[in-house]
């Protein structure tokens, strides 16, 4: 449980996930997180949704959390946002345990950590105008700020997400496109002193011609020093945006490390299978399979009875201990 990924439990020079020289401490740090749901009549059965997940996200870094449905990727995002409690393990934001935060501490936490979710149409209350989300932020956090100053702040935030204020303010959610709504939610997060963003499948619902703009927006936020956890099932999007990649399977990490290492040199059979299944524009499935599935006789390892091994600096793979 106490295995630290940026430490040297595998003893390979201690370079760790953070890369050399980045000893400023992680922004968000998950250590041995588990989530167990009680299911069935009277909660008699137990379902482990997340099993012993440890990784960290630094400021100015995008980490992709990639997995198929049911892999627990959204549960991890929800645990970070304290929407669902951690069963075991700790989540630390700048060294403070998130689970121990109480009222004012929690409000302060949400000032720095925010989430944007998959379906922009269900994130808004259709009865109210979309910009009510800004008003709610003002009431909760900036009640002392006068209106003119606040408007200027809203406009600056909208500009940061490349939205034209005249096009999106005073409109109802149904009058705006999915991309606009999603960017409004990011703008809402920017109004706060945001340092960490959980982006849970934020572009899955958007059209191909507009999704890349939202993706580039995340890149801009990263340049501003935000730490971003990008949760997705789409490997090509993860490959495009992220610095580091974490591959999840059935609640456990099977492979993680620098994006170019995980995608360029996948070692776990599950990662190889995923990469071989992604439809690519310029290569047929048959050709891709040959490239990725070289180790066809690789033995399936039960993730519960194995550990992550550091294969090369900043590249961890689960294998039988």
């Amino acid at each position: 449980m106490s295995r630290r990924l940026d430490g040297g439990s595998t003893g390979s020079g201690g370079a760790g996930l953070a890369g050399a020289g980045a000893d400023t401490g992680a922004l968000m740090e998950l250590d041995g997180c588990c989530k167990v749901y009680k299911v069935g009549a009277f909660g008699g059965k137990r379902l482990t949704a997340v099993h012993d997940v440890s990784f960290d996200v630094h400021a100015g870094e995008v980490v992709s959390l990639i997995g198929e449905s049911g892999s627990g990727k959204s549960t991890i995002g929800r645990m970070i946002l304290r929407l669902s409690p951690v069963t075991e393990g700790t989540i630390c934001f700048k060294g403070d345990d998130v689970a121990k935060l109480k009222r004012s501490g929690l409000q302060e936490y949400y000032r720095h950590v925010q989430g944007v979710f998959q379906d922009p149409f269900s994130s808004y209350n259709p009865i109210y105008k979309a910009d009510r989300v800004f008003k709610m932020i003002k009431d909760a956090y900036f009640s002392g700020v006068d209106d003119r100053e606040w408007d200027a702040k809203v406009h600056a935030a909208l500009e940061a997400v490349t939205l034209d204020p005249t096009q999106v303010l005073h409109k109802y959610p149904h009058q705006l496109s999915g991309g606009q709504l999603q960017r409004l939610l990011v703008a809402r997060a920017l109004l706060l002193d945001i340092e960490f963003l959980v982006a849970d499948e934020i572009i899955s619902m958007l059209d191909a011609s507009t999704r890349i703009d939202v993706l580039n927006l995340l890149g801009d936020l990263k340049a501003r020093g935000l730490g971003i956890l990008f949760i997705t099932h789409d490997l090509s999007l993860g490959n495009y945006i992220s610095d580091r990649t974490v591959i999840l399977r059935r609640g456990a990490i099977v492979e993680m490390g620098a994006t170019e290492k995980v995608f360029g040199n996948p070692q776990h059979p599950y990662t190889q299978m995923l990469l071989a299944s992604v439809p690519q524009l310029h290569r047929k499935w048959e050709d891709v399979e040959a490239a990725y599935l070289q180790v066809s006789n690789a033995v399936e390892v039960d993730s519960r009875e194995s550990s992550l091994v550091e294969l090369e600096p900043d590249h961890f793979v689960r294998s039988a201990a």
């Binding site: 198929e68 999704r211 580039n216 890149g219 099932h233 490959n239 524009l281």
Partner: protein
């Protein structure tokens, strides 16, 4: 013979007027062809697919003909179309996972469906079981309720049932969209398999995901705002598209196996026009980098090379 659609126009009735979802669409599909139909949401691709099988209450047939194997389909007449549905032309709907009747076991539902078409269940049961096994489902599925099956299993079940009477044309609407990548690959592989085995002659595969089409389709038809933009072989669309919309769309897709350290992809600025009162001429005009005064007239959908049609003044000229 295949399918021939000529100048098809279909609109949606709304309180504010008619929305022209499919506006003057002409194309053909040869026997044995898998045609991908791609476009953004709201471009009319599902409306086009649906209008070939099932015009819902709000949809209105305006103009045009649909010929399948030399027979004109009476798509404007709901009752008369029953003759052709399921037998000659069949559909795997967009939400195949919820297309199954939750109160019937799969076998019972198939039984009722076949009876409505005058086919006895007993005469086809062996074939049904054989096909279920082909897609990796056991015979036991027939005794199960839809709730007992996973999403991927339901999807495969619907595909088998839809193609049970060997229709000439199958319309598969977003069948891979809600699936995980590994299941997606399996389902996409089944499409090719079904054609090879002759369960269906030709197919229209509707999806917003061009990379899936580049894997399974022979030809790709790109739609934009109710108009056709470009049709060519899958390879041509991906490697050498001509229409500015197709070009921008293809270039904005991120891929695995490519490093993006320095490169930055760009989207297409602007949003598609509302179809309630669409602009005259080329509907991509407002977002198009090549637009000229000429684009105020609607460009014809013409051959620029054998098997390659484009609707753009700049390209055709």
């Amino acid at each position: 013979m295949g399918l021939q659609v000529t100048d098809l126009k279909v609109s949606y009735r709304t309180l504010h007027g008619d929305v022209q979802a499919v506006d003057g669409v002409t194309f053909g599909i040869a026997d044995g062809e898998i045609m991908g139909l791609a476009g953004e949401s709201g471009c009319g691709k599902s409306s086009l697919g649906n209008s070939l099988v099932y015009l819902t209450g709000r949809m209105k047939y305006v103009h045009g003909t649909v010929e399948l194997d030399g027979v004109t389909l009476p798509i404007w007449d709901f009752e008369e179309m029953n003759e052709h549905r399921f037998k000659q032309i069949s559909v795997v709907p967009q939400y195949a996972m919820s297309a199954l009747n939750p109160t019937r076991k799969i076998g019972k539902m198939t039984h009722e469906l076949l009876r409505s078409r005058g086919v006895t269940y007993a005469s086809i049961e062996d074939e049904l079981v054989r096909r279920l096994e082909l897609v990796g489902l056991s015979k036991d599925v027939l005794g199960m309720y839809p709730i007992e099956l996973s999403g991927g299993m339901k999807q495969r079940t619907v595909m088998v049932i839809s193609t049970l009477l060997n229709p000439s044309l199958l319309i598969a609407d977003e069948i891979t969209s809600a699936l995980d990548v590994s299941t997606q690959k399996a389902v996409a592989g089944m499409l090719g398999e079904f054609r090879t085995r002759g369960f269906v002659k030709s197919m229209i595969v509707i999806t917003h995901d061009i990379s899936i089409l580049s894997q399974v389709a022979d030809t790709i038809l790109v739609m934009y705002a109710g108009h056709l933009a470009e049709k060519a072989t899958a390879e041509t669309i991906v490697e050498a598209p001509l229409h500015p919309y197709t070009k921008l769309l293809i270039s904005s897709l991120p891929e695995v196996g490519v490093r993006y350290d320095k490169k930055r992809l760009v989207g297409i600025p602007g949003i598609p026009p509302a179809l309630l009162d669409p602009p005259e001429g080329c509907r991509f005009r407002a977002r198009c980098p090549l637009a000229t005064a000429k684009c105020k007239e609607r460009p014809p959908f013409v051959d620029v090379a054998p098997g390659h049609q484009v609707a753009c003044w700049e390209v055709a000229a």
